[in-house]
Symmetry: C2
Subunit: 192 residues, 2 copies
């Protein structure tokens, strides 16, 4: 991606994390990114194009820190836990990215264009988690009764629910992580 585009998208995430999707005005974004509004329209066509590309950018960043978290995983079950916990980290990057993701997801209820991209990103994430559940089962690290897709769909939806409670002040990040680790044990059965 051209540097200029990345710069604009980084600024868009900051603005969304601060004021919400509906608080994202192209004029304010131009000021935040230090570029002209014309350049934004040149790269992203219109506000809808900008919002869709920002969703893809937020998703790519999440994939980035997820992959980082997987490094050094001891086995498939540990990798699954790391994959899920990587969304609940009290760093500026994860907090900002998660607030923006929550906002874009809530907006998708009202925005057909966003919805298709959101469904696709979520499906990729669920599929990655399901592969790790299946690998855990194959390695004897999960009960044989476990359905990988069901467990993955629930665990990722739980991450979103816990993340929103954390970001809106209902849970500490440590409590959210503890609950999530407990969910993996409930879904997969105790570690043998």
């Amino acid at each position: 991606m051209a540097d200029r585009q990345a710069l604009i998208l980084e600024a868009a995430v900051r603005v969304i994390a601060r004021r919400g999707v509906r608080g994202l005005r192209v004029e304010d974004l131009a000021a935040e990114a230090g570029v002209s509004t014309a350049l934004i329209y040149y790269h992203f066509k219109d506000r809808a194009g900008l919002v869709q590309r920002t969703l893809a950018f937020v998703n790519d960043r999440a994939v980035g820190y997820t992959e980082e978290a997987l490094e050094g995983a001891e086995d498939a079950r540990d990798a699954l836990l790391r994959l899920l916990l990587s969304e609940l980290q009290d760093t500026d990057l994860v907090r900002e990215n998660s607030i923006a993701w929550g906002e874009l997801r809530a907006s998708a209820v009202f925005d057909d264009g966003l919805r298709a991209n959101l469904v696709e990103s979520t499906r990729d994430w669920v599929r990655d988690a399901a592969e790790l559940v299946a690998a855990s089962r194959a390695a004897g690290l999960a009960a044989s009764r476990v359905d990988p897709l069901d467990a993955a769909e629930r665990l990722t939806a739980l991450v979103e629910g816990l993340s929103e409670r954390w970001l809106s002040g209902g849970l500490t990040v440590d409590r959210a992580r503890e609950l999530l680790a407990g969910a993996v044990d409930a879904e997969l059965g105790p570690r043998p």
Copy 2:
């Protein structure tokens, strides 16, 4: 509650479910409710007061259909499942209420006033669920290892995650309900 206030709050939920919290303008709400903007300011003081009272109203309505769902429950575990499933019903009322709840929850990230009320409503809901988990355990309908508060916190957060996927088109309501029933089995252990 005075009829006029209820009328305004019902209209506020409709507007939020259609255009989001940031799409709620007092002028539009007045038109939707068929009242003057002055009457809205008289009853709710300002826009912030209106949004907070709308959150309480949405919560009261959810408590209403939850209590309805509990009627005829066979035992504590069945009551728990009904309590949770009542948030995933494809009726106009539940859909509208859930979209508004998701919107208000996402807005609470940016709004300190909303946040305190949201945390309190969520705590009441988690406590009700925890009591039913504890009663299930006492009746031998849940494994003795189950921690009622942890299980309740996870199951309610999962309802929110599944609800948002349903409302943004990622899951059918039937699939969301099936996943939720599976989560109760994973958390409490198989029904004896």
